[in-house]
Amino acid sequence: MIRKKTCVAMLLAGGQGSRLGVLTRHTAKPAVPFGGKYRIIDFPLSNCSNSGIDTVGVLTQWQPLELNAYIGSGSPWDLDLNSGGVYVLPPYQGGPEAEWYMGTANAIYQNLPFLEQYDPDYVLILSGDHIYKMDYADMLQHHINNEADITIAVRPVPWEEASRFGIMNTDELGNIIEFEEKPKNPKSNKASMGIYIFNYKRLRELLIADEANPNSNKDFGKDIIPTMLAAGDKMVAYNFTAYWKDVGTIESLWDANMDLLTVPPPVNLQDRSWRIYARNIGMPPHFTAASGSVENSLITEGCIIRGTVKDSVLSAGVVIEEGAVVEGSVIMPATRIGKNARVIRSIVSENAVIGEGAVVGAAEGDIAVIGTNTVLPEGATVAAGEQVGQ
């Protein structure tokens, strides 16, 4: 039932993702809703499917239930296969180590037996908190053509911001000759996107050696890549210039949602040759009432709009009651905004209820956040930048 695979993808779904605060208290980061009808993981999974990579391991140990149920058999992404498919991979007993994952490299190390099953030539390492469309097959071809040991996807960042990133310094042929984590005086503006293609044999060697090193953080960026540089491995940069957004913080998650409202949007979700697939929950078309008013927004199935929505992104089944005003906000599935409530520059998570006349967020300041299942009482106020949730 298992056949050899040229390339297997390993998606690091991360730990608690504390930078997303209340949004990830009850769910894994990749399961966080995005863009009205997606979850973050739809982007890497759809990219894999569209790139012809049909075997994906999702490494997680934090609140996997929602993610598990969302991925299900993998059919929304055409990943319900007899040969290959998508697997959620938690730590287990009887493997190389029976421990919770410690660091990105350790998570892959603990799942070497999973990779071994497919005897892959290449392993693609992905993160679960990036919004982008990328043809991994093209990156893989680049890797093969360059006979590289590792290929790292990089994108140009503004020079003035380069000192906030992991910067890859390359020679004129695109070989990586230096890697600097948050350099004070960056020599290049090519930032690592955390997307790697490894030759599997070499990766295996590296992980086993790293695991034996007591001083290692067991992290790709901090340990594996420096080791490879020191060892003289062939390391190649793969330039990516299209839209890419890390959504690992409240601010960036909000930004990325707002990006979808610009015309034309920087990431096209309607491109039929590179669809972003999502699990659909089967609700009727949304209804905008006579009292409703919507401008410059994304609204999806099951929503009922009786109030005013502007510059916002609403997920499935959201109800906006009469007199309520939602502006510059992201409202996640099945949440209800009560009568005359005001939600400004906020993220309201799933299944929350904002009481009548409550005020969340403000036109200035940081994004306000309301957590999953939170019931905000009538008339309550949540200030800009404040987080409320269980």
Binding site: S75, V263, Q270, R275, G282, P284, E301
Partner: protein, 374 residues
Amino acid sequence: MKRNIVGLIYTGERVEELRELTRLRAVAAVPMLGRYRMIDFVLSNMIHSHIRNIGIITQKNYHSLMDHLGSGREWDLHGKRSGMTILPPYMNKDNVGVYEGMLDALRSNINFLRRSTERYIAISDSHVLYKLRYDKMLEKHLEMGADMTLLYSRERSVRRNGAGRYLDIADDGTVFQIECDPTIPHYPNTYLSTFLLRRELLIDLVDRAVSSGYHHFTRELLMQMLREKNYKICGYECPGNVWVVDSVQSYFDTNMDFLDQQNREMIFDTSAPVLTKLRDEMPARYAKGAHVSNSLIADGCVIEGTVENSILFRGVKVKPGAVIRNAIIMQDTAVYHDAELDNCILDKEVIVRDHSRLIGPKGYPIVVGKNLTI
């Protein structure tokens, strides 16, 4: 839990009054309510009644229906053991044929009936829209000790002069009489072309009816059974509202009824969703300057103009200045700048050019066929 009902959906109705809407498709495949097709409602009712073995009798023009149903995956009917069985006339003849009537179709597919293992069978047409739990209907059937149970509604909106079947039902639930296509219906109970009985009994009835030279289930077989009184035939009242889609006007009215929240809540109960084929569209996008009021809007729409009292299917584009009122606009149709539509039904992939105007008279919505440019 026990899966003791096999479902059978008859999609061979000839509903001439639907005109252009059924020129290229079966009634079962007529698009409804922004993202559905007629068959989705009966199919979803069956699924939520724990029915997992469903036969679908098709007639001519079933390609869009087949395309919609695919492998049955969206309804979790893609299994090896049970699932969906398409029963087209061609399975039995060299060419695409036509069933004379439901009885004819049952006879041709008697093997499907024989091979099924469930004790009971629920049979439904596809031009009627309602929410029903067939397993509850079976409970009542057993409680009544009925041989056959017929589904009916007392709702006045589904009564038609000169058309339909109406039941005379005693206080104890027994059906006395049925009238077919009466000029003016006598009985207050509209039969919803949906019935339930023991599978083995149905096989016997079909065998017998065929040897009597019958073609039509209701008009011939059922009427005779009521005359002979050898069987206990009972009525089961459909809970909630029902709609019959048998003409352009009733198609229009049925859709518009769903701008009413109560009707939506009844049919789109979140614990028992209406399942349909997926399209992986992005959410609907409202541009700056969009005006939408009292309308159902499906995913994939891009709205830059004005939409009132209307239903927009997936992927409809409304350009700036365009005004749509009291209209049903099907999948991927585009309405260009400053065009105006009122009281009309636009089929799939229609193009309405800049400044075009199409205003239907009240009560007679204009229908624009698939793929046309106006």
